[in-house]
């Protein structure tokens, strides 16, 4: 894991900053003059973790690139809430073309910059899970396969929230969405469906793949920084809790991301050239219910008859813990 060694200063590494930190030890987000690449006035829902993670990612990338960053954005919440004409909440040069083509647009930008001899300018593409895992997968895969010099960031809120919370192939099992209602014998999204974009990215053996959450800013910043230090195709998958789609309190977005990691549901990993190189260990293990129960989309799991599904969730967590050694017992 890309660790940041911060001396224990009241809060250690989990808080955003700290008055006792030296300039070098500070996170990008803690700087009073941080770029705020996605600035105020955007129209994301209250407590939108995507808006938050996007600022974190882009601010770090902007700093890593010395301010020379161009961003291509897929259609989706992130695009809609940030750029309703004539207003834009973005500071770096930014383009939105279509839902499925952010990766390809980014490739085009990178190709153009290379042709212009401007390899100092870096390219970041970003989109939601729909634009990445579903409709945009071909373009993402093509960008990976060619090893184009693009950092692609997926903000995974596990569904089509922009269109009113429909199921995507990143929607977790049992989750209620508008197209996987919580009715019938197997309420919500079916078990056994969906795909892991992180594994798909790793299978391309691109130079760098990582996952992160807004529950650990420093980890996220370090991964963006690492990604920006590498040339070629890179992929960062960020889990972003969605108060609207998840049916959670707007104030709970960080806490849910934390619970996703601490329950073993969302492995936070790093991989290079297809090989897993590091995992973030669980720090304070919690039961999956700590992650699921605050979310209305899982409310049916906590009514009589939901026990079996909860057990299957626990099994998923156990499987992740085993597969990624999330408790650190194996080494």
């Amino acid at each position: 894991m890309t660790t940041v060694h911060i001396p224990f200063l009241q809060t250690g590494t989990l808080a955003v900053g700290g008055r006792l930190l030296t300039e070098e030890e500070r996170s990008v987000q803690s700087h009073a003059d941080r770029p705020s690449s996605l600035t105020k006035g955007h129209r994301a829902c209250q407590g939108c973790a995507e808006a938050l993670a996007a600022r974190w990612v882009m601010d770090t990338a902007v700093e890593a690139a010395g301010g020379k960053l161009i961003v291509a954005n897929a259609t989706g919440c992130l695009e809609v809430f940030s750029t309703l004409y004539p207003e834009s909440a973005w500071k770096p040069p930014w383009i939105h073309s279509l839902f499925a083509n952010a990766a390809a647009v980014a490739t085009g930008i990178a190709a153009s910059l290379h042709a212009q001899g401007r390899d100092d300018v870096r390219v970041l593409a970003q989109g939601g899970d729909g634009g990445t895992v579903d409709i945009g997968l071909a373009a993402v895969s093509g960008m990976f396969e060619r090893n184009d010099d693009v950092l692609y960031v997926c903000y995974d809120n596990q569904g089509y929230m922009n269109t009113g919370v429909q199921r995507s192939s990143a929607t977790p099992a049992t989750a209620r969405t508008a197209t996987t209602p919580a009715v019938g014998r197997h309420p919500g999204q079916a078990f056994g469906q969906g795909k892991s974009m992180v594994k798909i990215a790793m299978a391309h053996e691109i130079p760098y793949v990582a996952s992160a959450t807004p529950a650990d800013l420093r980890d996220l910043e370090a991964k963006v920084r690492t990604a920006m230090s590498i040339r070629g195709a890179r992929y960062l998958h960020v889990l972003v809790p969605c108060p609207l789609g998840w049916g959670s309190a707007s104030s709970a977005s960080i806490a849910l991301a934390r619970a996703a990691v601490q329950s073993g549901i969302f492995p936070v990993i790093e991989a290079r050239a297809g090989e897993l190189t590091d995992v973030q260990r669980i720090r304070e293990r919690v039961d999956v219910s700590a992650y699921l129960e605050p979310q209305a989309r899982f409310a049916h799991l906590f009514t009589p008859g939901g026990e079996d599904a909860l057990d299957r969730w626990r099994a998923l967590a156990e499987a992740n813990i085993r597969r990624y050694d999330l408790l650190g017992g194996a080494s």
Partner: protein, 409 residues
């Protein structure tokens, strides 16, 4: 230098001399020879300072072009048929964002049934995408149109398709004289994007426009499109002046005597029967109408070079009030008639011209001089209908030997 070249080679070399910064492509017949040639030139260095990107679909081809163009590069791709439709969403998008990409469309039918041969269905499907659509009559023009297309598109901030008939032109070898790199450098201004993703002057491109601004956005796009006709005409004039040959323009006029292309040819007269067509069939028409002219038949030929924007005024002027207008159409609006006919009809609405739509050459059916001549003769005899399918086989399509006969009621 005059030389014999395959149409695709002529286009590829000309495009290369326009110095694109990014070329991206996904193979589809009959566009392949163009992008293969460009790939070769990118490897040999003949196409310098250019990124050649092999993408995984036409959709990504256009998307890469969008990114490249927005980042300040002259961007080029080529496609055809299903590929054009597969990238359709991005085709509209490029135009909406005002990115002056140039794309060759090697015109081909659209399936099903799948058919790799020529007609204009693909380009017609994209006629309202907001692109300039310039149709080449021959390979010389196909090559030259790319130079004009880059110039006009970049001045306008509107992307441009250069349409050339698949196989009929792309795979045919003709005597052509290509614009040299030096000539193009002197003619075509360097690409100065009207908007660009610039780290020093950041901008947001591709915002959402709500009901309060979308209509105005489209209206402004429309006005720009109206400007486009003048810009295309101006660049075509400059091209003629610089290169000494006809290319582009809005409408191709043909001499009544020689049937050669002649920008100075007089308009047709009201008593003339005028054939209007687009693309390579114009050459066949030149040959087919010659015997009629020799007989003293008052037949004229007018070509449409710019299908989008559609030059209604220039067309009306060239037709000179011809009472009989035959539109030879290589695409069909199902249930209506020829696709070009529709636009010609709108241009002639309110005039006394009678329009015949002759749909010909669908899916690669050869268009024969004799058939065209016959159609004109029938029109003169008052026997040509408002809509005819040239060389239509009566009795329809042969039924498969086994299995399918009872199915298709």
């Amino acid at each position: 230098m005059r030389e014999v070249l395959e149409g695709s080679q002529a286009v590829a070399r000309t495009v290369a001399r326009c110095r694109p910064g990014v070329v991206c492509a996904y193979p589809i017949s009959p566009q392949t020879h163009i992008v293969e040639a460009l790939a070769g030139m990118a490897r040999t260095g003949e196409l310098a300072d250019c990124e050649y990107v092999n993408v995984e679909s036409e959709f990504s081809a256009m998307s890469v072009a969008i990114g490249a163009c927005a980042a300040g590069s002259r961007a080029y791709t080529a496609t055809a048929s299903q590929g054009l439709l597969y990238m359709a969403e991005a085709v509209y998008n490029a135009a909406g964002m005002g990115l002056p990409i140039v794309m060759t469309v090697a015109n081909r039918a659209v399936g099903a049934p799948i058919n790799i041969w020529n007609d204009h269905s693909d380009a017609m499907a994209m006629r309202d995408a907001g692109w300039l659509q310039l149709f080449a009559a021959d390979n010389q023009e196909a090559a030259d149109l790319h130079v004009i297309a880059f110039a006009a598109a970049e001045e306008l901030g509107i992307p441009a398709m250069v349409c050339m008939d698949g196989f009929v032109l792309t795979h045919a070898s003709d005597v052509v004289e290509l614009a040299t790199a030096d000539q193009i450098d002197a003619f075509l201004p360097p690409y100065h994007p009207q908007q660009v993703l610039d780290i020093d002057r950041p901008t947001t491109i591709g915002t959402m426009a709500g009901p309060e601004s979308f209509t105005e956005t489209r209206y402004l796009q429309h006005l720009r499109f109206l400007d486009a006709a003048d810009v295309i005409a101006a660049w075509s004039d400059r091209f003629r002046a610089a290169f000494g040959r006809e290319a582009g323009g809005l409408i191709a006029r043909y001499s009544p005597d020689t049937l050669d292309r002649d920008a100075q040819a007089p308009p047709a007269s009201s008593t003339d029967l005028t054939v209007v067509a687009m693309g390579s069939v114009l050459g066949t028409l030149q040959a087919a109408l010659a015997p009629l002219r020799a007989e003293g038949v008052p037949v004229r030929l007018v070509g449409v070079t710019s299908f989008r924007p559609f030059p209604e005024a220039a067309l009306r002027e060239a037709l000179g009030g011809s009472r009989h207008v035959i539109v030879v159409d290589r695409a069909l609006e199902l249930g209506a008639g020829g696709a070009l006919t529709g636009s010609v009809g709108r241009a002639l609405a309110g005039t006394r011209s009678r329009i015949h739509s002759v749909v010909a050459g669908l899916g690669g059916r050869p268009i024969l001089e004799s058939s065209l001549e016959g159609a004109v003769r029938r029109a003169l005899a008052g026997e040509l209908g408002a809509l005819e399918f040239l060389d239509l086989k009566t009795g329809g399509v042969p039924v498969p030997v086994e299995g399918a006969s009872e199915v298709t009621r």
